[in-house]
């Protein structure tokens, strides 16, 4: 078990290293002048030279890379994501301001998509080929085919715009955000539409996974045994079958949760939520490299950490994984 975990962590660190190296190659080795983008439009040769000296852009590329890697090591005194090119705030501060929004988004939508996705999947699996199952299939296919920005725009149009111009202003305008600690009710109110958007898109995958996984389990011998013992169908499905069908769903869940926490780019852009996703898009538009690199690193870290956590949990739940 410990060896398994160590192997996974080494692979995770390797993945992070590949990602930050790729970002370095893209931004420092690519044929463009980082000093020029930092200096802005009013760049004089003297200013460019000063920036080059200050940031070390004129050092050999391999030395720059070494300094860059050094700053990424999570150790006090070394770790330093730099400051934003636009407002001179430390990148860690910017990230710390954005992350609560992403956590809020992730928690709320995850609860919704799990409830919706798993229950639709269970209903469909209990009566395969029924009308209900066909309805569930239609839901799944629409969800999978639906681009996030279309659903987001549709919800915004119907529930914000149309209702508001008819004098029923139930939903807040895009850009509204209240921290949970200030007012939990207002917090939930501002996040309902983004939650529903993310949840509906994501739930489709979960319905499909739950259905196929549960159908497979229901065909197993031990389920026949459970039925032969005279257990109620409810008990067979929920206590015996669903439990072991949830393992593949768990894998998917960990990764999806981490992805949303690393920035739901589309949802945040549409609903104007200043989380990591919106921040990174804005930073990219003005070539604000330190912010982009910081957020890419944080988002990748979430995904990699979730992968490791899920694998570890998997090994706990299913002993067969540990052996191989």
């Amino acid at each position: 078990m410990i060896r398994f975990l160590i192997r996974r962590i080494v692979l995770g660190v390797l993945t992070l290293w590949v990602i930050i190296t790729l970002v370095f190659i893209l931004y420092y080795a690519a044929p463009h002048d980082p000093a020029a983008s930092l200096a802005g439009r009013a760049a004089t040769p003297a200013l460019l030279q000063q920036i080059n000296r200050e940031y070390g852009f004129n050092l050999p590329i391999i030395v720059q890379y070494w300094h860059y890697l050094e700053r990424m090591v999570p150790w006090p005194g070394l770790f330093n994501l730099g400051t934003s090119n636009t407002n001179r705030l430390p990148v860690t501060t910017i990230i710390a301001q954005a992350v609560p929004i992403d956590i809020s988004l992730a928690v709320g939508s995850a609860i919704l998509w799990m409830l919706l996705g798993v229950s639709v999947g269970v209903l469909a699996a209990r009566r395969p080929r029924s009308l209900l199952d066909r309805g569930a299939t239609a839901f799944v296919l629409t969800g999978i085919s639906m681009p996030t920005f279309i659903l987001g725009l549709l919800l915004l149009y119907v529930f914000y715009y149309v209702l508001t111009i008819h004098g029923i202003a139930i939903f807040p305008k895009p850009g509204s955000w209240t921290p949970f600690t200030r007012n939990p009710l207002e917090w939930a109110h501002d996040l309902i539409l983004p939650w529903v958007t993310l949840a509906l898109i994501t739930a489709a995958t979960y319905s499909r996974l739950t259905r196929s996984s549960l159908l497979e389990t229901l065909g197993e011998d031990y389920i026949r045994t459970a039925r032969a013992k005279g257990l109620s169908e409810r008990r067979v499905v929920y206590r015996h079958a669903l439990r072991s069908s949830l393992t593949p769903i768990l894998t998917q869940f960990g990764i999806d949760l981490a992805t949303v926490m690393g920035g739901a780019i589309i949802t945040e852009s549409i609903f104007g939520l200043p989380g990591l996703g919106l921040t990174v898009v804005q930073a990219i538009q003005v070539q604000n490299l330190p912010v982009v690199i910081g957020i890419v690193l944080v988002a990748s870290f979430f995904v990699v950490a979730a992968n490791i956590a899920v694998d570890a949990l998997y090994a706990v739940l299913d002993p067969r994984v540990r052996v191989s």
Binding site: L14, V18, L141, S145, P147, I150, I266, V292, S300, N307
Partner: protein
């Protein structure tokens, strides 16, 4: 899971008749087409896809008939007397005009070109690379497999939308780059499946037979093993097309894909969002076509999978057997 498990159903034919006579020489592909022909959902999706392909191919003709190109901003003709955009059904503008007086129908037709080209090309590139890398990894195994499988794991665990926009922001958005980025993030999905299949196929007797006949490794991989992997690859590729189309639309929506004024369904929606909720028809038509296209490809992919899946074959076989029993 390979097609070779599709067994003929005529095994209990009368003993005096030679069994071989009952088996028609149908290739697996013919079987698939036969099953798809009876699947109404599949037929409808194929028709929808063909219509959208036709629209993309004849986009120039549509522009010629209506008399306006995809980027003609016509404040005089494409707007009413007060300078407002024309609603759908206006004479000469079937789907109305946008805020710059451009014909939405013509723009959608040209947008279909982008979506289809990106969807098909990105998937084709991803499939070729995925198959080659997956085959090498699964067939050779060992250290080559370890390296290739790790690479695919790393690619699959990338936050790919984020990475795609970083790439596009550095190199500037262009169509070829969009296609390559999508292909890069899709090849691992195919590669992993092919690798798994190749791992099990290489232990089969036919591979041993090929070895003993003196076949080279490349020949065994691409001539002997590959045909057995066609089924899962086709299904995955069909399902990758709508994913690629959504990916492109998303990039264009964020302003990082197709550069305006060239129309794509994604940047049409981004334009519509840019002017607020000015008119519903700015939104509804690009949305409808995008959704229709992705839905059609997803439905077709599902139908193809059902038609290729040997487990479904059992259902078909059972049904045919039952008919035969009742007829007897």
């Amino acid at each position: 899971m390979s097609l070779t498990t599709v067994q003929p159903v005529h095994t209990e034919i009368l003993p005096e008749e030679p069994a071989v006579k009952g088996i028609e020489g149908r290739t697996p592909l013919q079987l698939v087409f036969q099953r798809l022909k009876t699947d109404r959902v599949a037929l409808v999706s194929i028709v929808v896809i063909l219509l959208i392909v036709a629209m993309a191919v004849f986009a120039g003709v549509i522009a010629h008939i209506t008399g306006h190109g995809p980027t003609d901003a016509n404040p005089d003709n494409g707007t009413d007397a007060t300078g407002q955009p024309l609603p759908p059904g206006s004479p000469g503008y079937l789907l109305g005009t946008d805020n710059l007086g451009r014909d939405i129908l013509v723009r959608i037709a040209y947008g279909a070109r982008i979506s289809l080209v990106v969807g098909v090309l990105a998937t084709a590139i991803a499939t070729v690379f995925g198959v080659i890398i997956g085959l090498f990894a699964g067939y050779y195994g060992g250290w080559l497999d370890s390296i290739l499988a790790r690479i695919m794991d790393v690619v699959l665990s990338f936050p790919y939308v984020l990475f795609a926009i970083v790439l596009v922001s550095v190199f500037g958005s262009s169509l070829p780059l969009t296609i390559l980025v999508i292909a890069f993030f899709s090849f691992a999905a195919i590669g992993r499946i092919v690798r798994g299949q190749a791992l099990s196929q290489r232990e089969k007797e036919y591979v041993e037979a090929a070895h003993s006949l003196g076949a080279g490794n490349l020949r065994i991989m691409f001539v002997d093993i590959l045909p057995n992997l066609v089924a899962p690859v086709i299904v995955l590729a069909t399902l990758l097309i709508p994913t690629a189309i959504i990916f492109e639309a998303t990039l264009s929506f964020l302003g990082l894909g197709v550069v305006p004024p060239t129309p794509s369904w994604g940047n049409m929606l981004s334009d519509a969002e840019g002017v607020g909720f000015q008119a519903w028809w700015f939104y509804i038509f690009p949305m409808l076509f995008l959704l229709l296209t992705t839905l059609a490809f997803n439905l077709l992919g599902d139908a193809v999978r059902d038609a290729l899946d040997p487990r479904t074959e059992r259902i078909f076989a059972a049904r045919r057997k039952k008919v035969k029993v009742e007829a007897a």
